[in-house]
């Protein structure tokens, strides 16, 4: 076991998956010699050849569509979209093709395709290198949506995504790529899709978050000694409804934290699910701490991202309600 960044963890996971299964093919822009602009695929083309690590032309629709065709016909592609902001040209392939192919063929075909893509802000990337578009995918049944918050989970979730048999949007929080290290075993292990992690246990409030915001939330809770359940969702579609509801029934107070814009962000669905199921347990309104409904600006990204002050404000509000 060694300490690894998320980039290293993902790179090593891809390496093992490729070594174990000849049918694993990587495709994306600049993933070959260049190793991906974030270096997640570094060294893999060298090791497995140009036939297994494909540098594609600049067309995301083509990347996803070609990956989907490979997956339908027995290969096990793992696609990289260079930034999540650039996935939208492939949106029709995602919504109208890969999410619907198993259903429309009556289970004759499936699309076991993993689409990896870095998302989120905080790297001075402005409007087009900062977006958190998870809602667009979570609203699309037929997909699974996964996002790890640390190097250990990244590996376990990537392996499970790969083995899930369905198309998975695998969102990598780019701000966390190199900022956290954790112990990552060399061999493959799994973290179940659809299961959240309870990172901290407490009785005053339930704080629900995922991906890029997890470390901010954990730091805030620790530093301020909040007696909170902290839930890292890990899978956004399907969400771990049981973990959410059982914590809410215990604490009666909920704060949801994400970086994506508020309107129809994940917080909306979480809030609605809780209202439907655990209304009578609630001691305070469900509060969302999120990015605002504006494009992600180049300056003042620290204002865009939820931070300690905003998270603590929300926690105080629900605690003192």
């Amino acid at each position: 076991m060694t300490l690894k960044t998320m980039v290293q963890s993902l790179n090593q996971t891809l390496d093992v998956l490729m070594a174990e299964n000849q049918n694993v093919i990587l495709l994306g822009e600049d993933i070959g010699k260049n190793g991906g602009v974030f270096r997640v695929t570094e060294g893999l083309q060298n090791k497995y050849g140009e036939g297994r690590v494909l540098d594609t032309p600049l067309n995301e629709l083509g990347i996803v569509g070609m990956g989907a065709g490979m997956a339908m016909y027995g290969l096990r592609p793992i696609v990289e979209i260079q930034f999540q902001d650039f996935i939208f040209p492939a949106f029709d392939q995602i919504v109208n093709q890969i999410a619907k192919i198993r259903y429309r063929t009556g289970n004759q075909f499936s699309v076991p395709l993993v689409i990896r893509t870095p998302y989120g802000g905080g790297v001075r990337g402005g409007l087009y290198h900062s977006q958190s578009g998870e809602s667009y995918f979570v609203h699309t049944s037929g997909l699974k949506v996964v996002t790890p918050s640390n190097p250990y989970d990244a590996k376990g979730l990537l392996v499970s995504s790969f083995e899930s048999g369905d198309p998975v949007i695998f969102l990598e929080p780019k701000r966390v790529y190199r900022s956290i290290k954790s112990e990552v075993p060399e061999e493959l292990y799994r973290i179940e899709i659809g299961k959240a992690a309870l990172l901290k246990e407490g009785s005053d409030v339930t704080v629900i978050t995922y991906g890029s915001m997890v470390s901010t939330v954990v730091d805030t809770i620790t530093k301020n000694r909040v007696n909170a359940d902290v839930i890292d969702l890990r899978t956004l579609l399907p969400m771990d409804i049981d973990a959410i509801i059982s914590s809410v029934k215990k604490t009666g107070r909920v704060v949801i934290v994400h970086e994506a814009p508020r309107t129809l962000g994940m917080g909306a669905e979480i809030s609605a699910l809780i209202s439907e199921r655990a209304m009578d347990y609630l001691l305070a309104p469900i509060i969302r701490v999120t990015g605002p409904d504006i494009p992600f600006p180049y300056i003042y990204e620290e204002l865009y991202l939820p931070d300690e002050r905003r998270i603590m404000d929300a926690i105080s509000k629900v605690k003192n309600y």
Binding site: I25, G51, L54, T56, P57, N59, L61, G62, V64, G65, M66, G67, A68, G69, M70, A71, M72, Y73, G74, L75, P77, P89, D92, Q93, N96, Q97, K100, I101, R102, Y103, R104, T105, G106, N107, Q108, F109, S110, S141, G142, K144, S164, G165, D166, G194, P238, I241
Partner: protein, 335 residues
């Protein structure tokens, strides 16, 4: 090496019969639609010969990415009319379980992939399938059919370029029927469609898709090229949509028919005349073939329409490899 020299009378006759059976099924289905038996249809009237030619040249291991107007191709591939109708009726025997509109077929067993409505969206999938063949060093090529309208889509552009860059065995066949609903091809694009191959560094060729021999010649040349591993190829088959775009469409709003059923330029009539002139067939035999086709289609429609619908709960299946709680919960609340 073109197969035409070696084309037997039997092959021509069977091509003719395929076209007639397809035309007949089209007409019967349009009637069934008017009677409310079938919900919708996109007829392939006028495109039978081109599609039949494609079907004749396929190998068993070839993978087809067809589109919604490929009746004659499906039939020439040996897909039973009963299975075609099961899909269109959305009955319990439909392998797609009634989920898709009529004409949106998927027949994995026959190497016929899966049809979606968004025009052109199957083309990138075709490149992936071709990559799978190449990677596993398997026999066979991928044949991808689409309309003239589809050449304007983003999917066409991506697929053509990827196929060329990765040197894939994809034969792209544009069934240029002159129209995309109400838009004539000359307003779809200023270029000749086969010239679009230039943009991707692949060969392109136009064939008379209303003529069996021209179609077979051009397509087999292209297939030889693709099978030999030289790369992808674009065929433009010039054909003609004889009827409406679909049963929801009223072509009188935007055009006057140029080719009508049985007229001299109807591709089926053209083949008939060729066969007559070659002495391969006489008018009585033609009538007999057509009568048999009508009988066959009437009988299959009668038989298949009796099959009941799938069970209601089936619409909640097959979304994932394993059911997820969201759909299970919704199923309970709805049923």
């Amino acid at each position: 090496m073109s197969p035409i020299g070696s084309l037997s009378n039997d092959q021509i006759l069977s091509a003719y019969e395929n076209a007639v059976r397809s035309r007949t099924l089209d007409i019967k289905v349009v009637n069934a639609q008017r009677q409310g038996i079938i919900g919708f249809h996109v007829p392939s009237e006028g495109q039978e010969i081109l599609q039949t030619a494609i079907g004749m040249l396929l190998h068993k291991e070839d993978i087809i990415f067809g589109y919604y107007r490929d009746f004659s191709l499906l039939m020439k591939m040996g897909i039973p009319v009963s299975k075609i109708l099961d899909q269109m009726l959305g009955n319990q025997a439909d392998i797609e379980k009634g989920r898709q509109m009529p004409d949106h077929f998927s027949f994995k067993e026959y190497n016929f992939s899966t049809i979606q409505s968004p025009v052109g969206a199957h083309l990138p999938l075709a490149t992936g399938a071709a990559y799978a063949l190449k990677y596993r060093k398997e026999e066979g090529i991928v044949v991808a059919n689409f309309g003239d309208g589809a050449t304007s889509t983003s999917d066409f552009h991506a697929a053509m370029n990827f196929a060329a860059v990765f040197n894939l065995k994809v034969l792209f066949i544009c069934e240029n029927n002159g129209w995309a609903i109400s838009l004539p091809t000359k307003k779809q694009t200023v270029a000749d469609i086969y010239r679009k191959a230039d943009a991707y560094g692949m060969p392109g060729k136009r064939v008379d898709g209303n003529d069996l021999i021209s179609s077979l010649n051009g397509i087999s040349e292209a297939m030889d090229y693709v099978r030999s591993g030289k790369g992808p190829y674009l065929i433009e088959g010039v054909t003609y949509r004889m009827g409406a775009h679909s049963t929801s469409d009223d072509p009188k709003k935007y055009r006057v028919d140029e080719i009508t059923d049985g007229s001299d330029n109807d591709p089926i009539r053209r083949l008939e005349k060729l066969m007559l002139s070659m002495g391969m067939i006489n008018e009585a035999q033609i009538s007999e073939i057509k009568r048999r086709a009508r009988e066959e289609m009437d009988a299959v429609i009668e038989e298949r329409r009796k099959i009941p619908k799938p069970e209601p709960e089936s619409i909640f299946e097959d979304l994932y490899s394993e059911p997820a709680w969201i759909q299970e919960e919704e199923k309970r609340s709805i049923l």
